[in-house]
Amino acid sequence: MRSPTPISAAPFRQRTRLGACLCVLVALAYYGFLMAGAFAPQALARPAIGSVPWSFLLGALLLVFIVAMTGLYTLLANAAETKAGDKRP
């Protein structure tokens, strides 16, 4: 049976800061892409590779970026936890 664990202070605060930074990065990339779609759709429709337009390429890259950021956070947070020897749930 699990029970809520008390919050350990310093590493936890670091993770909160890391999470906030990465969240801002993802939001910038996502809303930046939406803004480009709203105000420069013609530029996005230009071909990037062969007939594949920039919209497809940047959209796919945005997805890769989102996954990479969640992966990065998971790696860093898990590594910090291992280092701190914090094995509690």
Binding site: R2, A38, L44, G59, T70, G71, T74, E81
Partner: protein, 503 residues
Amino acid sequence: MNAETNPTAIGMFLAFALVTLLITWYAASRAKSRSSFYTAGGELSALGNGLAIAGDYMSAAAFLGVSALITNVGFDGMLYGIGFVVGWPTVLFLIAEKLRRLGRFTFADALSHHLDERPVRIFAAISSLIVIAFYLIAQMVGAGQLIQLLFGLDYGYAIAIVGILMVCYVTFGGMVATTWVQIIKATLLLGGAAILSVLTLARFGFDFSALVDRAVAVHPKHQAILAPAAIGADPISGISLGVALMFGTSGLPHILMRFFTVPDVRAARGSVFFASLFNACFFLMVFIIGFGAVALVLPDPAYLAPGGGLKGGANMAAIHLSRAVGGDVLMGFISAVAFATILAVVAGLTLSGASAISHDLYARAFGVSDEAKELRISRIATLVIGVVAILLGLAFRTQNVAYMVGLAFAIAASANFPILFLAMNWRGLTTAGAIAGGTAGLVSAVGLTVIGPSIWVKVLGNAAPIFPYDPPALFTMPLAFLVAWGVSVWAPRMAADGVETAS
């Protein structure tokens, strides 16, 4: 109407139903405690849980709806796909960590840590049930229409089959069965989408450029399918949808519940990573499928209805494509997977609705601390939700319910997310502030949607909307934060002033 019976589809679906019911039977022997009923005993692996979380987002609406949207309007459909993935980092960075440490079965556990338990639980349960109701109605109506199309089965029977199977999974198998149904379906759906995209690309010698050229040549909008269009016409609605999708995920009770099904916070983080990975792969494949349908289905008169448009409606684009590239066998497989998808998603919704009633309301808010009684209530709640879902599915059968998933996201982003975020990050939040902020978000999200384009105009038939933006999350989410902050800060001061003046 596509009423030809497809033996592969029926055989595949029966096999799926049989396997999942066997799992339910196995899980039933284990679902004896609250912890195993609500959270599968917290024993899932990050990979399994990640697949199940991703499965919650790979609904029939996402698979058939987004590919159909791409087939219809082109790149705009892909913006939806990206929006469904961008919610994951938000959940991971802002919510998952603390939620996992503070909660046990539902997200209301984490809310009631610093706040007065009873009112906060009651609010969270009501808001959860409203979100779940809208989500569930959209899924049920979609299910009835889809199964009618794919299997030639009457709408009423289709709804009843979905309702009965989901109640079986949840009542007898709890979270263990619900999760395995989701994992099996997610694997089948990812596999099916992969086969479909590879076969589609093979038609063009694995040259994506050639596929794009062909799609632009045959689509009535030609070049216009390569760039976003809707967001240029109405940037505020576009950004608002972005806000609803990015923050709504963090307020969906059936998603938040899944952070308690793994053994520790590491596995919880890993689950979100896997979920985002699977969802990103899935929507990239849906993108290929959508454009594949433009290139291969639209020009083929065999798939077109006499009056124009696709046979069986726009949502059939991916199904027609499966027949075009893989014949009746692949079409049967994809149809069966679409059915399984609906079942898995409604089962997850039902379980989280039942836990809001039995855990948040019955056990915690009204203080019944008997585990056996709480379990019995959750099973009764499941049955009631199942019956209500069937009835709502029948009641809304002819209604345009497209706005309901959007509304569920808008409420989740405007009511649940702000108070959950504040409760876990700001010590100054008071119970009154949380309730006032959450209520402001809930009421404004519902109210502005009702007087907005998708209900006021499309459902009620008025000429112009009173509130022009849809969804309203861009305005209602900040409103909830503002009200929660204002009431938390000013109400105690005003009360103190009142006491001073009185004395």
